[in-house]
């Protein structure tokens, strides 16, 4: 498996899995405007998935499509971060997960607009506009709910504490990342950390939330070594029709 293919599935699996999680909210959000906004974000992410996994399939050259990659791989072949496969929890946990990821996603896409691979730069240029809006929105909600009532503050702090151990994986570097960076295709994830920290500190301060102390980081999503139990359940829903009726067109 080439490093480029691995890199592209990481991009596409993050957007696929997070888009799927957000789509679980459709019809169940706390207020109509949020229902619409969450669906919008999910739609953007699914659209980005089609582009990333479409390019991954093309790079692989094995005759698979974006849909094949999404619907017919098992959990161990997924390369998304553990953070994005966390279950939705309450609205606070969903928004906190979104905010932590959006800031990373935005920094990454910004850098990818300068990729030496023009196909990647083109996808990033389209996606970055959408993700800038996602990042503004999730930050605004984290601030609003962190600095809202005592209950909303407590819930947001609880969500932040629970998700913090999944932050570190976003910024780990491995052999694929080193190869991508050497070719000028993508930045080393570790180089994005300082900017992320600055932005997140600003958001958390405005939200009156306390940044957790520990820096322990769960690993195993982006390299596929050990996903959480939750991913398999998500795939069993997402892939069910394709698995139950192989060869059908929909």
């Amino acid at each position: 498996m080439s490093d480029l293919f691995t890199f592209l599935t990481r991009m596409g699996d993050n957007t696929l899995v997070l888009g799927h999680r957000l789509s679980e909210w459709c019809g169940h959000a706390p207020v109509l405007e949020e229902d619409i906004a969450l669906a919008n974000t999910a739609l953007d992410l699914i659209g980005q998935t089609q582009m990333w996994l479409g390019l991954a399939a093309q790079v692989e050259g094995a005759g698979r499509s974006a849909d094949d990659l999404a619907m017919l791989r098992d959990a161990w072949d997924f390369r998304n971060l553990l953070l994005v496969e966390r279950p939705n929890g309450d609205f606070g946990a969903t928004i906190m997960r979104q905010c932590l990821f959006d800031r990373f996603h935005l920094l990454l896409l910004d850098a990818l607009t300068h990729s030496t691979d023009t196909r990647i730069a083109a996808i990033a240029a389209k996606a970055v506009k959408e993700v800038r809006y996602h990042a503004d929105r999730s930050a605004e909600l984290v601030i609003g709910l962190g600095d809202g009532t005592a209950e909303s503050h407590t819930r947001m702090q609880t969500a932040l504490d629970a998700l913090w151990p999944y932050v570190g994986e976003m910024f780990t570097d491995d052999a694929t990342d080193t190869a991508m960076a050497a070719a000028g295709i993508a930045p080393l994830p570790s180089t994005l950390r300082a900017a992320w920290d600055t932005q997140m500190t600003d958001i958390l301060t405005q939200a009156t939330l306390t940044r957790p102390d520990g820096d322990f980081a769960h690993q195993g999503g982006k390299n596929g070594a050990q996903h959480s139990e939750h991913l398999g359940h998500m795939l069993s829903q997402m892939q069910w029709l394709q698995r139950a009726y192989p060869g059908a067109t929909w």
């Binding site: 799927h20 459709c26 169940h28 919008n40 659209g47």
Partner: protein, 324 residues
């Protein structure tokens, strides 16, 4: 329809009411600040509210398949469609608010059962073909009613309908597209398609409501132009349009007595079981309890979010005032 058995308040016979009726008869639009009879206002609130609730509850049966959509494209289309329904709910609640009722008040009435939503959303979606059938039949039936409502007498309602109709006709086409794929697909897919038609045919006919030829409520609503056609007219139009589409798909409408009449230019068809319809309206449809429970859960679970965001907005406002 999305608004079924809406009780109409009677018109009064004051000079204002007569002048009001004359405006409607001339085809003028009534706007929020215009004088209107109390009965017109109350009837519209009931009708628009029921319509808005139907959009919101209507998210649930289709939302049921978003996480199981078979391809990325189908997932995106379905999600966009269900999102449109939330948007329709929003336009309609805004239209209702111009009549002096708040969205929260209407929501409370939906959640505690004082207000209704369309009977159709109390039926389950059991296979992927149901996503086709809902678009093709349910949105198809909704359009029958909503296209004429673009000419309804109340301005904000008519304008909301113009936007809604554009999106609904797209929904109906994508529903038919799913049915085409299924009907021309594998044996299992054809079976799903026929099964979906079998289950959704009569509930779709019920959407128009029972025959209203002798109903005083309907007569008043039609005089006020907040109801544009009788239930029977719309149902006939729906059957006439849909039967040839079913034939094109190679599917069988589950009505052995369905017949085309050259002399009338219409299909003769079997009426749905109206006792089932009344049962569904009374809360005994297959999904009534689940649908209301889902809406109540979303509302209750979201209370802390709404309160938190309000509290933050108040703090920001206070800080701004203090700074000035």
């Amino acid at each position: 329809m999305y608004a079924q058995l809406v009780k109409s308040d009677a018109a009064d016979d004051s000079p204002e009411a007569r002048a009001f009726q004359a405006r409607i008869d001339r085809g003028e639009k009534i706007e929020p600040k215009d004088w209107m009879p109390d009965g017109y206002r109350k009837t519209l609130i009931r009708q628009i509210g029921q319509h808005a609730h139907s959009e919101i509850v209507g998210q649930l049966p289709e939302g049921n398949w978003i996480t199981r959509a078979p391809t990325l494209e189908r997932k995106a289309i379905l999600l966009a469609k269900v999102q449109d329904e939330a948007g329709h709910g929003l336009y309609l609640y805004c239209a209702a608010e111009t009549l002096g009722v708040s969205r929260d008040e209407l929501t409370e009435m939906l959640l505690d059962g004082r207000m209704k939503y369309s009977s159709i959303f109390n039926y389950p979606t059991l296979t992927w073909a149901d996503m086709g059938a809902v678009g093709w039949l349910v949105d198809g039936a909704a359009i029958m009613n909503q296209v004429p409502l673009q000419r309804t007498s109340y301005g904000p309602y008519a304008r909301a309908m113009v936007r809604i109709c554009k999106e609904e006709s797209f929904h109906q086409r994508q529903g038919f597209d799913i049915m085409m794929k299924m009907a021309n697909g594998t044996e299992a897919q054809r079976r799903m398609a026929q099964n979906a038609l079998d289950r959704f045919w009569y509930p779709s006919l019920m959407m128009f409501g029972p025959s209203d030829k002798d109903s005083v409520h309907s007569a008043q609503s039609m005089a006020w132009k907040i109801k544009m056609n009788t239930n029977d007219e719309l149902r006939q139009k729906f059957v006439d349009q849909t039967v040839p589409q079913a034939e094109y798909l190679g599917l069988t409408v589950p009505d052995p007595d369905l017949r085309w009449h050259d002399e009338t230019g219409h299909y003769e068809f079997t009426q749905p079981d109206w006792s089932e319809f009344m049962d569904v309206l009374r809360g005994n449809g297959p999904c009534n309890a689940d649908r209301l429970a889902a809406r109540n859960k979303a509302w209750d679970d979201g209370a802390w979010v709404r309160e938190g965001l309000m509290a933050h907005a108040d703090k920001k406002r206070a800080a701004k005032v203090a700074a000035e």
